[in-house]
Symmetry: C2
Subunit: 222 residues, 2 copies
Amino acid sequence: MSTSAKRDLIEEYALVARALGAPHRLLLLEQLAQGERSVEVLASKVGMSVANSSQHLQQLRRAGLVTNRRDGKSVIYRLSDDETLVLMDLLQKHARRNLARVSEILRGLSGGDEAVEPISRAELAQRIAAGSVTLLDMRPADEYRMAHIPGARNAAVNALVRLAGAREQQGEIIAYCRGPYCIEALQAVAVLRNLGISARRMEGGLPEWRAEGREVVASDIE
Amino acid sequence: MSTSAKRDLIEEYALVARALGAPHRLLLLEQLAQGERSVEVLASKVGMSVANSSQHLQQLRRAGLVTNRRDGKSVIYRLSDDETLVLMDLLQKHARRNLARVSEILRGLSGGDEAVEPISRAELAQRIAAGSVTLLDMRPADEYRMAHIPGARNAAVNALVRLAGAREQQGEIIAYCRGPYCIEALQAVAVLRNLGISARRMEGGLPEWRAEGREVVASDIE
DNA sequence: ATATCATTCAAGAGAATCATTGAATGATCT
DNA sequence: AGATCATTCAATGATTCTCTTGAATGATAT
């Protein structure tokens, strides 16, 4: 009995890990880290069919990673826990430390300039308060509109070159995006540094910022 | 290109999670958390064939969770990182918080007495120094022999009742075992409290104790 | 009530994963 | 050099996972 209990427990732990073990589900979680979403929105965001998304979401739910509620005709999913973010982040950190392919890709994305340390969220918050920083939100416009760090400006990687020419310098540039699996901020920093503009990225992303209870605003307030 | 880079990264993160997503592999990791082991020893410990163990170990290696080296005829595997422990632990914590079945099983094992808070390793270390505690190592004898907390006494759950009758009281009893997926310490506490003896378990297990740089000893020194 | 809409369910084809078996490799020991 | 031992490899069937398709459900709105 005790042996089978152990078996059962381990099976459940494995279930959680398995739920994290498919790229599509990680993409769904990344979306959910931005905030709660309906099945339809999630499906279109990650580019898969609604039925397929629904099934993956249910797997995530069985693993206790997300919860759902009905809102009118829609079913809204959300992360069950801010700790889920920690789990996702640990996965990424582990991969970067121990898998050569991962560190290679990341080095490639950051233009070989991997020595650029990210700025901590705490320090960034101070710098924002002091006004000595220009903040770039590198996420899609609709996500920016829903919530972003106060004072941040929305930008796309493609538009950076143009934007850099016209901009008025105001302190160091800090870029951020979705969170653990974000790469746009990395690219942004690479592009800007190539142009001779000093830039860094924020550690983590908006979800982590929010999980720490820091302020975010929606676009119509700005 | 940037999109495919993101795909590749996420695929790697999922690979890590998938490696954690099979009970047999979690058992192997639990063993490895006790210390480095050869393939043969691991196979017999978790009760699977050598060939099968070897394949699972290679999967863990591809995910960067373990490394191996040759030592004479044997290949010795070990956790690649103390952070691997954190990952395993987080999996368990998440499951306990968010999966009803898990908390039920755990409640059953601890005799319904789940309110018994574990003692932190830091506090335990102080209590040991003060001599005001009786320590029980609930792992198999061979693991105890390889390394245990100084002053701990090896015990099996079955032998606890007998042991409790004969024992000389010396402070509170603290039990520990393997680590994140340990249940023996939980059972020990339940048995002892049923006998009216005050007992708690240590938070985490021997691997976490060692990961913090605390002292362990081998049996022949005792 | 009926129509509509978002989501879930059910069934099936295709791919990936798992355990077993027996052979191959690579290092040691005599 | 040959024998021995631990591990890995390769091939096989069994199981499980993934995605698609089309129908079913459940809630709202007219």
